[in-house]
Symmetry: C2
Subunit: 586 residues, 2 copies
């Protein structure tokens, strides 16, 4: 008989391989040892699968333990007590949930390294593990520093806004007897024990509960100001942009290893630096880790094969240019140390680079501590108004996500049709005109020859028009796809950002209730209020920024698209006019 366990909370399976469990349900464990924080077992209905180890307590009074199913091959004794309410990874954020969703097939999704199904916080964890290795990693011959299986998934549709795909369950620790690893907060304060929660992982909870501490240098202060349309990030007083040019293939180890190097030239330094994709990747990981409520633009998708093909390099370059545009446009991201190090450190100075790299990786002002650096307007926000704004934005992002996905699919299909079908149709017509003119040429009547030439020219014109159609999507549809891909990345970030803000608001409500019940000191609740105000200001500023760049980008892109389309149809018209003229003396 296998070991049994009791579910402490509801868990709703959201991915293949998982099984749902209900609170108090008695479960069968196939193995007492968890695998990366998950148990394999069956629920009371006999459904088999994985459920979070932290959601269950192993039943101690089970008489027998059959070890024949045991997967404990590590030699360590299985410890039951570890799993009683305490997440296997603790609260330090180092726990990594298995990325079971990553191998789904992807279809028409934009080409950035994430979609709505991949939350920022999942990446946060993933990157903090993957991209903080030894410096030797940099010598890896792969630009894409991971296997395909390790790549962030690009699957599925808009994620549940309530967390990481798992249900959130908040309970008050006062009623529970367990060791609190953090130990700093009062036992009267609510804690969210679901360590899958972005609110917890991002450091949002720790910050709200007053657990964050660190020294903020004056230069690192990030200001939220009240602008015309509400809270916004203080503008970067030293705006700059950065060109990304000349992706070139570099080799090392006497040509044994190759990689692509991009030339970055920021306007503020005017000095070119060379960066590889993995440098971008590393930087992205730092940013995601550091900024809990900032939507870090995603870098272009990883790709294991064909990395040196021209099309791919050009596509990636375009993606990096878009990414860079969003980085330099962001008042907070543009100014942060790690980005500046990335933009300005001389690539040849190995030592300086490694120093900056290590400094960034050891940055203490990440996650919960990031919020310490935010300075807010004097008047605190009205939380009811904040909640309403956040809810509105949530609705907005859902609709925008749906519509951009649809537009992306339509645009891709339209491009495909132009490249294949439209081209073919025009060229078939052109060919038929050519054939007709060739038939007409058999007649040697002198009064026919100019007509024959004109028809032949018309045939050529239609062939050219076919080519025009095939060439056009790269000019006016691909840029739309690139734009949509970037925004899909942002939209995938927002559920987590909203979740952090909502988590903070919940804490405020809980603390008010506790104060009313006399369970909490009003000054403590006031601190929670203040810190929730900081998170709310940051969130609303980020949303404001999102709207600004969205309007800017979509306006520019629609204009570009229409201008290109106009040029395209004018080119066709000219071609036809040229053909028509040939008939004048026919």
């Amino acid at each position: 008989m296998a070991r049994r366990a009791r579910a402490l909370y509801d868990f709703n399976s959201e991915n293949p391989g998982e099984v749902s469990v209900r609170e108090n349900e008695i479960l069968t464990l196939y193995c007492e040892q968890d695998i990366d924080g998950w148990f394999e077992g069956a629920n009371s209905k006999g459904e088999r699968g994985l459920f979070p180890a932290s959601y269950v307590e192993i039943l101690r009074n089970d008489a027998t333990t059959l070890n024949n199913n045991s997967c404990n091959t590590s030699g360590e004794p299985c410890s039951d007590t570890r799993y009683a309410n305490v997440p296997s990874g603790g609260f330090d954020g180092s726990f990594k949930p298995p990325n079971k969703v990553e191998n789904f097939s992807k279809s028409n999704l934009p080409a950035f390294s994430t979609s709505a199904s991949q939350s920022q916080s999942q990446q946060q964890q993933s990157y903090s593990q993957q991209s903080q290795g030894s410096d030797d990693d940099w010598d890896d011959d792969w630009d894409d520093n991971s296997t395909v299986a390790d790549e962030p998934g690009t699957v599925g549709r808009y994620r549940d806004y309530e967390g990481n795909g798992q249900s959130t369950y908040s309970l008050t620790t006062t009623s529970m007897s367990r060791g609190n690893a953090q130990g700093k907060s009062s036992a009267t304060v609510s804690r969210n024990l679901n360590r899958f929660s972005t609110f917890v992982k991002s450091g949002g909870e720790a910050f709200v509960l007053g657990e964050a501490s660190g020294f903020v240098k004056d230069g690192d202060k990030i200001c939220v100001v009240i602008g015309q349309h509400g809270p916004e990030w203080q503008e970067n007083p030293y705006p700059f942009t950065c060109a990304i040019d000349n992706p070139t293939k570099q080799t090392k180890f006497k040509g044994m290893k190759s990689y692509i190097s991009y030339k970055l030239t920021p306007t503020h330094s005017q000095t070119q630096v060379n960066r590889r994709y993995k440098h971008f990747d590393w930087l992205f990981a730092r940013l995601v880790e550091k900024f809990p409520v900032i939507s870090v633009p995603h870098i272009p998708e990883k790709q294991a094969t064909g990395r040196f093909e021209e099309d791919f390099i050009s596509k990636r370059q375009k993606g990096l240019i878009w990414w860079m545009n969003h980085m330099t446009s962001h008042p907070v991201l543009a100014r942060c140390d790690v980005f500046q190090h990335f933009l300005t450190c001389n690539s040849a100075d190995e030592k300086a680079w490694k120093q900056g790299k290590r400094k960034a990786e050891k940055d203490e002002m990440v996650g919960a501590n990031f919020f310490l650096s935010i300075s807010t307007p004097a008047t605190p926000l009205d939380f009811q108004e904040v909640e309403s704004k956040i809810d509105g934005f949530k609705t907005f992002t859902k609709r925008m996500d749906d519509s951009t996905l649809q537009l992306n699919a339509t645009v891709n299909e339209f491009a495909r049709k132009q490249i294949s079908g439209f081209k073919k149709e025009y060229q078939k017509v052109g060919f038929s005109f050519k054939v007709l003119s060739q038939a007409f040429e058999i007649d040697q009547q002198p009064y026919s020859s100019k007509l024959n030439q004109a028809i032949s020219f018309t045939g050529d014109a239609y062939e050219s028009i076919g080519e025009f159609f095939a060439e056009q999507p790269s000019k006016d549809l691909d840029p739309i796809t690139d734009l949509l891909a970037l925004y899909q990345g942002h939209l995938a970030n927002y559920p987590d950002i909203i979740h952090v803000q909502k988590g903070a608001l919940t804490k405020v409500k809980e603390s008010q209730k506790h104060v009313e019940e006399g369970k909490m000191d009003p000054s403590q609740a006031e601190g929670i209020n203040e810190r929730c105000n900081i998170i709310s200001c940051a969130t609303l500023a980020e949303i404001q920024h999102f709207h600004h760049i969205r309007v800017r980008d979509f306006k520019a892109q629609m204009q570009h698209h229409l201008q290109q389309q106009i040029t395209f149809f004018q080119k066709i018209t000219s071609k036809l006019e040229e053909a028509l003229q040939k008939y004048d003396n026919a």
Copy 2:
């Protein structure tokens, strides 16, 4: 045992139901009575089917005749002797071969009432039977005066130039003992005994052999003159055109019967007459019968159902306008009595109409006699040059037929794609833009609203562009299809025209041989030469006319097409420019 017969000549089956026979092959007849000039039977290989009764002689020495297979239900005794070399229908042209090819399915062929597979001479026979009925026929409630099965077939591809799909076999009657129904020609003159031959049916042979006779009024003289590019019809000194307007539904018998009436207004009479489709049909039959080497333009296809639907009426009207254009453009057709009667006789004056109708039907100057009315240039043509020109034209028409068929298929497919696929693609893009703008509208930021409106307008613009694509083919592709249909009709006429001319040339060669062998009087051969010259002049004049209208029509149509396309793409461009402007203040 069934009656047996011997094949006198090779016969190659060309249609389903026929069976090939070789000269001297012994055949089995299932019935001694021919069916419309065909025997049903089996060849020596046992292959069953129909073969021409005139190609076989029934073997008299066959011992027994089993009548159990006999289809002789008429009560008349089967006459064997009738079929020995003498066509069942004689040489009077009243024999009608079964139209076995007519029920084939048709696909992408132009919409005129014939195709290359339907020869002018087949129609000649068919119409002379169908359209010369009593005057009561005119009261028929059907515009299309026949069932679908009676409609000229529109099947297949370019017909064999050597005749009506049957092989031609020419033999000298001197070696044969039979009664010559015509009886006018000397026994030393070659006759083509294949009465399927257009040369025979059209009256070409009879004319060349000097058998035609009739009185030609001065006003009926048709002149071939030598122009810049060789023989041509003398221009019509009184050129005119004729408008075809307002097809309207008429009823009679208190609304029990309906038909469509077209209003014809010729420029020379300035008087409107009303004509029905069946009047056009009757006129066409008269013209085909009368003019052996003139390519009479085909009238639009018959249609049994949907005759009162707007689309069909409009299509037929367009076809009739094209037809009328070719009629009035033709120097000979435009001036002929029956056409003038059709154009000018007051529709209300029943008596005058019937008088003209009867006169046309009793016209003696048809077929062989038509050639009598042709007056040629003083210098006879060089037959070698004529032959080379005819051969060149033959090659030309084959290629033109192939290329117009291909162009027609391409254009039809292109139209279909624009109406369905192209429209759909643009409208899908338009819809996606609309959906995006609707999503954006959820954000209430004031700085976003103008962009939202602009994107929404862009969506509308793409929807409109989709409509433009769907509407366009009727403006610039359908006219091409109409043109091609008309020319497919002409191209279908030419094999017969060429056949008549080639038949005349063959007679010249034969007569020369006979003169050399002392079998023919030189003066008789001279007569054949002169009459062959008349046929050759007429044929070359007709070919010249064809090239002139071809160059004129294709030039005009290509120009029209390109102008329409230019307007179309300019319209799209304007729409896009309008959309682009909306972003100016967004």
